[in-house]
């Protein structure tokens, strides 16, 4: 292989070995266009070549699962003839290069994945990670990403009902932007991306194809260096108005029976949509790219096939029904253009007027790509981080001051500056406002509500990837239990460094094992997701960061519970047990500047029992509030419960036995715990219910008053006025985001 050939492979991020595989599959050397097709379809982003063998270990089956991994999104049965279609996807790399458009098009892409399957999108969430806001660049990234998400979600009329935001130094040059969408479809009318029926027309709808986003998928499959800014042209520009028209028109078309299959053009654009439709359908597709609507003149076949211009869909309609399809798109001022046909030869044939410019077996692009069993190596840093000597952690004297500092740290402070920029009420289904443990929407016409939560664990997974993966799953399910919901399915977004580093692959494998074990114990099937590798900048990998998006069901929406205390005189209980584990905690990082120790242990049987107990208490309508204990531990969970979404404030008096250290008691992040408040009349019932579930339950105190008062062994340790405490928590991010 000569130098220029090598350079060509390098720009396409293909190895010599992969090139030889291409030659074998074609029986000849590929031309440049064909090389382009393989490079995007065999990129890490599209082919999952490093992750596939590990992902297989995740449980994907469950009694409600209608569609597991492998399609555009997962599907679960809700009853009442309805199905929920949902998925999460990352847009990390584009969001660093161009935060507004990168995040906006991330939302656009995940919305298309959902309506492609015949579902009307009804909820969005997002999981974001940035470096500390003390760095100006991170403030501008946060500002741009949030504005981009808001612009796209708000304009398309889909409420953003939940999410999470975390800050950590490792995301300084590599923010994480993971977007989740959920839609509702009639159970009997789920559309799959399978082109069937020789001679059926292949129809292009939506925006014209331009030169934007060419090689976006390969860009997302490499590390960043100082030249990241030069990659800006690989980021696409979103048009949420076009997306809105597109999904209204597609949903209208889906209500007829003229449509055979449909696929969005996301990563790898026309290449991916044509080859996947055909490969999954066991057919071939022939298209004439001269017929593809183009934004500019003189685009080459290579550019047209690889463009990642947004808001485009590819349909296969029944032959003879073209005019029906056109009429629906006309109504929405969109053009449906027939660009090719379904064939029976299994090939993707790309013609430019008369000439065939690419001829590739569809399966070779989609299914027969490379599969790597990459080497694994336990990272050496774990030797240093695993031990935490509690004796070296000075116990603070003023616990009230520690609490205020924690509540005003960006990780724990109110995220209202962010979620108020998202329309979280459109469609008028939101029945738990943002700020609680999970977003909850009702399903009109049924007694049902759906709960959803996004939870990631970066620091925990860095300190122990297995536990990090398991704890993310456990917390996400616990968040659903806190609102009274039963988990029915999940999607995951796995954000990691370069898979070419054995240490990263070891972290990846361990995270998968932890997630798999927790999913099995909690009976939670993973119905799909996304892997984002190469989150490295200048050689440094981010913390391994699995993000789990869980979906839960409430058979009776009136059983929903929210996190905040509802009034004075209710009794406050803690379900579960507090241990003295503070490894990897917010407290240790924020107050002592340490990222050290092991994450708290997780007893999955206990976890399951606490969640089941909480759900049962919710179903009996005993709970005035329920709130999961997570970052910041008990003291933070109590403080968050003092403040409601509409400005409500309710004080509390807490009395704790403290045999050991006060800081571990108040700030340990031991899992499988739930804070709840009940009217005194329900206390007896709650106690015996906890017993029947084998869940330890302790009474902590009572709601009411103008202050948060915490007594330890009968001595007042914390006494803070509500207004001051709320202000510290409420305005921390807002203040620091002021220009």
């Amino acid at each position: 292989m000569n130098g220029s050939q090598k350079a060509l492979l390098e720009t396409h991020h293909l190895t010599e070995d992969e090139y030889q595989q291409i030659v074998r599959k074609l029986g000849r050397q590929p031309n440049l266009t064909e090389l382009g097709l393989f490079s995007v379809m065999w990129s890490e982003h599209c082919s999952y070549k490093s992750s596939r063998m590990h992902l297989k270990r995740l449980p994907t089956k469950g009694k409600r699962v209608l569609q597991g991994p492998g399609e555009n999104a997962g599907v679960v049965d809700l009853g009442y003839g309805l199905a929920a279609v949902f998925k999460i996807e990352s847009h990390n790399h584009p969001s660093f290069i161009e935060p507004f458009q990168g995040a906006a098009t991330g939302v656009g892409g995940i919305i298309r994945d959902i309506f492609t399957m015949g579902a009307r999108p009804v909820a969005l969430m997002n999981s974001l990670r940035f470096g500390p806001l003390s760095v100006p660049k991170n403030r501008s990234l946060l500002e741009g990403v949030v504005a981009g998400i808001a612009s796209y979600g708000n304009s398309t009329g889909i409420p953003t009902v939940g999410g999470e935001v975390a800050f950590e130094e490792c995301y300084n040059l590599n923010p994480l932007v993971n977007a989740f969408c959920l839609g509702i479809a009639p159970k009997e009318r789920i559309f799959l991306a399978r082109a069937r029926g020789e001679g059926n027309p292949v129809i292009y709808v939506g925006a014209r194809t331009g030169k934007d986003g060419i090689h976006g998928a390969t860009m997302a499959s490499t590390e960043f260096d100082e030249a990241a800014e030069e990659k800006r042209p690989t980021v696409q520009v979103g048009d949420p108005f076009m997306e809105k028209l597109l999904f209204e028109a597609c949903l209208e078309l889906m209500a007829t029976d003229a449509l055979v299959a449909i696929q969005d053009m996301g990563a790898a654009g026309l290449t991916c949509s044509t080859s996947e439709l055909a490969a999954r359908g066991g057919t071939g597709i022939a298209i004439d790219i001269a017929k593809v609507p183009q934004r500019e003149k003189g685009m080459t076949p290579y550019e047209i096939m690889l463009s990642e211009s947004q808001e485009r869909m590819l349909l296969v309609a029944k032959a003879g029904r073209e005019s029906e399809v056109e009429a629906i798109f006309d109504k929405w001022d969109l053009h449906a253009v027939t660009i090719g046909t379904v064939t029976g030869d299994g090939m993707l044939r790309v013609r430019d007027r008369g000439t065939e410019v690419a001829t590739v077996p569809c399966r070779a692009l989609v299914e027969d790509g490379p599969l790597y069993e990459r080497p694994l190596a336990r990272p050496s840093y774990l030797e240093k981080t695993a031990t935490l000597d509690l004796g070296s952690v000075t116990e603070p004297r003023d616990l009230g001051d520690v609490l205020v500092r924690l509540m005003s740290s960006h990780g724990l402070a109110s995220k209202h500056w962010i979620f108020e920029q998202y329309d979280h009420m459109v469609q008028s289904n939101t029945i738990v406002l943002p700020g609680s443990d999970a977003g909850v929407i009702r399903l009109k016409g049924t007694p049902l509500a759906l709960a959803m939560s996004l939870d990631g664990s970066g620091r925990y997974s860095y300190l122990d990837p297995y536990l990090g993966g398991a704890l993310a799953v456990a917390e996400s399910c616990r968040n659903l239990a806190a609102v009274g919901a039963t988990p029915i399915g999940a999607t995951n977004c796995l954000n990691f460094g370069s898979p070419e580093k054995p240490e990263v692959m070891w972290q990846f494998a361990r995270v998968i094992d932890g997630m798999a074990d927790a999913c099995r114990a909690l009976e939670l099937p993973i119905t799909g997701g996304n892997v984002s590798f190469y989150n490295d900048t200048e050689g440094e990998s981010i913390f391994p960061t699995p993000v789990v998006g869980t979906v839960g069901i409430l058979e009776d929406k009136t059983q929903r519970v929210s996190h905040h205390f509802k009034g004075a005189g209710d009794w406050i209980y803690l379900a579960g047990e507090t241990t003295d584990e503070i490894g990897g905690s917010e407290y240790l990082k924020t107050i002592h500047g340490m990222i050290q120790g092991l994450p708290p242990r997780l007893d999955l049987e206990r976890e399951k029992a606490v969640q089941a107990f909480t759900r049962e208490a919710a179903a009996r309508k005993w709970l005035r509030s329920a709130h999961d204990l997570s970052e910041g531990g008990l003291a933070v969970a109590i403080t968050e419960s003092l403040f409601g979404p509409l400005g409500e404030m309710v004080g509390a008096t807490i009395s704790l036995e403290c045999p050991g250290r006060a800081d571990t008691l108040l700030f340990s992040e031991a899992p499988s715990r739930m804070l709840m408040s009940v009217p005194p009349g329900q206390a007896e019932g709650l106690v015996s219910l906890a017993e029947s579930f084998g869940v330890p339950l302790s009474r902590l105190g009572v709601t009411g008053g103008e202050r948060l008062r915490v007594q330890l062994n009968g001595v007042e340790a914390i006494a803070i006025g509500l207004a001051a405490l709320r202000d510290a928590w409420w305005s921390a991010i807002e203040k620091d985001m002021q220009p």
Binding site: S155, T156, P240, F241, K331, S428, T430
Partner: protein, 230 residues
């Protein structure tokens, strides 16, 4: 039974909420009317819902005012029938010249979605006839361009003519800068035309019509509308 037309532009996204409140909650006859239609004959009132008509490109409402349906919306307004613009619909009515003033970008320059408190200033409008003056309603907003502006002469006329229908206030009904979410002049959240039949407001009554949504105060506005055409 009165008939309500809900005008749908490409990019509207609250038409379903308005429809649900009128049809399912209040049992009224309400119909979605596509913007390419040209007649509103047979309807007793028209509502222009929230959203991003034509993507809000150029300026909110600036393109929607040229939609084919707008001729008949203007005729309805001239006939004295209630014409209600909610959020983006309010912006469209301003662009169409049916209501005075203009919307500037929010003072924070950011989109804002949250519950606000609104003080009822007049009970002669078709949306507030079942309220009392001084009532405080809790209803959410969701907009980026809701900072009401009118030149001094128009503002003076609005105030003098009793055309200010709702103002942002504290829960106790006091006017305060902290309670004004977008910087609107005189804390204005909703107005009427001189005749009182054309109404525009930024708050989403269509998101607060049942207690489980956080408030049902929007239902009092819908109820007033139903009463005013019955």
């Amino acid at each position: 039974m009165p008939r309500f037309a809900i005008v749908v532009f490409p990019g509207s996204n609250c038409e379903g909420d308005v429809l649900y409140a009128l049809r399912e909650v209040l049992g009224q006859e309400a119909v979605l009317v596509w913007h390419k239609e040209t007649s509103l004959a047979g309807y007793d009132a028209a509502l222009l819902p929230g959203g991003f008509a034509h993507g809000d490109y150029l300026r909110p409402g600036a393109i929607a005012r040229f939609s084919p349906i707008m001729g008949s919306v203007i005729s309805m307004a001239e006939e004295g029938k209630p014409v209600i613009g909610i959020c983006n619909g309010f912006q469209v009515l301003m662009e169409a010249g049916l209501l005075p003033g203009a919307m500037l970008r929010n003072k924070t320059l950011r989109y804002v979605c949250r519950y606000v408190n609104l003080r009822v200033e007049t009970t002669t409008s078709p949306l507030t006839r079942e309220c009392r003056k001084g009532d405080v309603l809790r209803i959410p907003i969701g907009h980026a361009d809701g900072n009401f502006y009118a030149d001094p002469a128009d503002l003076e006329e609005l105030e003098r003519g009793g055309q200010v229908m709702l103002r942002y206030s504290t829960p106790a009904g006091e006017l305060a800068d902290e309670a004004n979410p977008n910087g609107s002049l005189n804390h204005i959240a909703g107005i009427t035309n001189k005749e009182g039949n054309v109404v525009g407001l930024m708050p989403h009554l269509d998101r607060s019509y049942q207690p489980e949504l956080g408030s049902d105060h929007g239902l009092r506005l819908f109820g007033s509308l139903v009463a005013s055409v019955s």
